[in-house]
């Protein structure tokens, strides 16, 4: 087996195109993923035109909320580019230096203060798909800014209501000093009523007392109503099991698993098919090498190459994304089990094909759909179809390898042990199928 291993390494070294692809592919993919993640589209580059006068505020009771706070909130959601005029913003959008522009009109504070609906102007460019992506990203950013701004206004309104209830100096234009609060009126009034003889005046005072009590009680309630209106539905998220995987590290895991699969399946299938293409298979199997040893040799070589490529990719992407290097031991275990299962699948494909080209084509035609199917999220297709996808994903190694690597890299659910066991079983099953295929093909 060692002789065949050395021979295959020599052939691999002399296949310059294949070797170049094996080196360039992981480096290129790692760099692409790294750049894509480090230049995340979640903070789009947006031009912001603030046409409001400097220091413009929205008056809420005795509180003032600065409009510039809204602009600052919006800036924090996007990669903001401050521009002076609407025309300048339009030019930047047209040139493509920003993906959109937001114009904050000069009368926004007046409209909010007068309880009129204020509006922003948003300018887009680009094709339908790009517009859709930009709109959804920007709408989210504006919604977050709106939410933060409405919270500030709500807090100001709540302070004003509190002053009316508790009394004191309200600092509102025209309000008297040391104003009595609605909460303080009933005790004062009750003392006055007690000293009053029965009659019409006493009855009138009792009606005022009833109103003051009712008003104090309901104004206190309106503070809660304000906070409810500001955020009518609060979302409480509970993860039932496992740990949430950050999207960028999950993307890394997907890319590494896809690379592991492609390199491993293609090399294993191609390596075995090459023996038949060179007519050497029958010479080897006439007692020089056992079928099991030949399959093990092809699988080991493919798995070793794919393992190195995948580990290099993880390390390369690690320059862009924060990975927990303390878990590197688990990465190795997940990659080894994944590579073994993919290698077994590869030799099974190679046992069926008579030529390297046919084996490579078959490997790609099988691998690509497997990767796509394993990534189909629940709920995106009908229940029956999702179950069918689940069955297909279960009998091929991609999903199990993805879950094992996700668990190893991100401590994600399900636990790594189950995925490793699943991969080990698939390795045995595909190895047996390869053995059977080799026998049938002779």
């Amino acid at each position: 087996m060692r002789s065949l291993f050395v021979k295959d390494l020599l052939i691999l070294r002399r296949s310059r195109l294949l070797l170049a692809l094996l080196i360039i592919y992981p480096v290129a993919i790692a760099l692409l993923i790294g750049f894509a993640i480090s230049r995340s589209p979640s903070r789009p580059r947006v031009a912001i035109v603030d046409e409001t006068p400097a220091g413009e505020t929205v008056q809420v009771g005795n509180q003032r909320v600065s409009v510039s706070q809204y602009a600052d909130q919006l800036f924090s959601q996007v990669q903001s580019v401050r521009v002076g005029t609407r025309q300048e913003a339009i030019e930047q959008v047209k040139s493509g230096s920003v993906i959109a522009a937001v114009v904050i009109p000069p009368d926004i504070a007046a409209k909010i203060s007068s309880l009129d609906r204020a509006s922003l102007e948003v300018l887009y460019n680009g094709d339908a798909l790009e517009q859709s992506l930009v709109q959804s990203t920007l709408n989210s950013a504006i919604a977050q800014a709106n939410s933060a701004f409405s919270e500030q206004i709500q807090q100001a309104a709540a302070k004003a209501l509190n002053a009316l209830l508790e009394g004191g100096n309200l600092s509102i234009l025209g309000a008297p000093q040391n104003l009595i609060g609605l909460h303080q009126i009933p005790p004062e009034l009750k003392a006055l009523i007690a000293r009053q003889p029965p009659g019409r005046d006493r009855q009138a005072l009792e009606r005022i007392d009833a109103f003051a009590g009712f008003a104090a009680e309901n104004l206190a309630l309106s503070k809660n109503v304000l906070s409810t209106v500001g955020q009518p539905i609060q979302v409480k998220s509970s993860l039932l099991h496992g740990r949430r995987t950050p999207l960028n590290t999950f993307a890394v895991v997907v890319a590494v698993t896809v690379s592991l699969m492609f390199v491993c399946v293609l090399l294993a299938a191609g390596g075995l098919a090459l023996e038949r293409e060179e007519h050497a298979l029958s010479r080897l199997l006439r007692g020089l090498v056992s079928r099991e040893a030949l399959l093990a040799e092809k699988g080991s070589l493919a798995a070793a190459c794919a393992f190195v490529v995948a580990l290099a990719m993880l390390a390369g992407v690690g320059a862009f994304v924060t990975l927990e290097w303390s878990r590197a031991g688990l990465w190795v275990v997940a990659l080894v089990f994944g590579a073994a299962a993919f290698a077994a699948l590869g030799v099974a494909i190679g046992a069926l094909a008579r030529e390297v080209r046919a084996a490579s084509l078959l490997a790609i035609l099988m691998s690509l759909p497997l990767a796509f199917l394993a990534l189909v999220p629940q709920g995106s297709v009908g229940h029956g179809f999702y179950v069918a996808i689940g069955v297909v994903s279960f009998v091929f190694p991609f999903k199990a390898a993805l879950q094992a690597l996700d668990a190893a890299v991100n401590d994600a659910s399900p636990a790594i042990g189950g995925s490793l066991l699943h991969l080990a079983v698939l390795t045995i099953v595909f190895g047996a199928l390869a053995r059977l295929g080799l026998r049938q093909a002779e």
Partner: protein, 240 residues
Amino acid sequence: MNAELSVGALSKRYGTLEALHEVSFNAHPGELVAVIGPNGAGKTTLLSIIAGAQTASAGTVAPGPDRVGWAPQQPALYSKLSVAENLELFARLEGVPDRADAVGRMLDQTGLRGRADERVARLSGGNRQRVNVALGLIANPPVLALDEPSASLDPAQRERLWQFIVALAAGGTTVVFSTHNVVEAQRYADRAIVLADGRLVFDGTPQALMREAGEAQDGDMERALVAFLAQRGSREETSG
């Protein structure tokens, strides 16, 4: 003289198809045995079983594949390896003790010492076939099975290859070869075995086959084989 190769009642079935039916013959040291017959007669199957590349459904072959060298019809070589690397690899796999000596001997015998470091992909068809035969001989086996060794070679390449094979037989190696070129059997073989529909229908010298078919000794052996098979067909029809 003891038989170097002994084939006894060899049968091979592929499902319902019987590729070989109770084929038996012996071959002695240094003997050159030609296996001839029409397409689908079972020639390649017979040689593959003798070489151990296929298993028989029934019957016996002695010696085992470890003492039989084999050169399949299509050169079984690694085109990205050099001539010497191919020889070295199979010397290792065959467990040859002195590999360097075996490789050197094969390079000398094939006349390819000057091209030892050349990749097989760059060799002509004739030279590839010589390396193919050399791989079968690397472990110095007493029996060599050659499946259509001269197919796809030009006359000059064929001539060089046969000089090489005749020299091997002269050295004591038992050579069993299949061929479609009946003239080669007439020219080089000590014995001819005729297979038809998986059955051995003739085992004797090429001259005996000529006589059997009513062909003159200096006549055309291809014509003799066609006549022999036609006569056999008529006899079977009559007896049937």
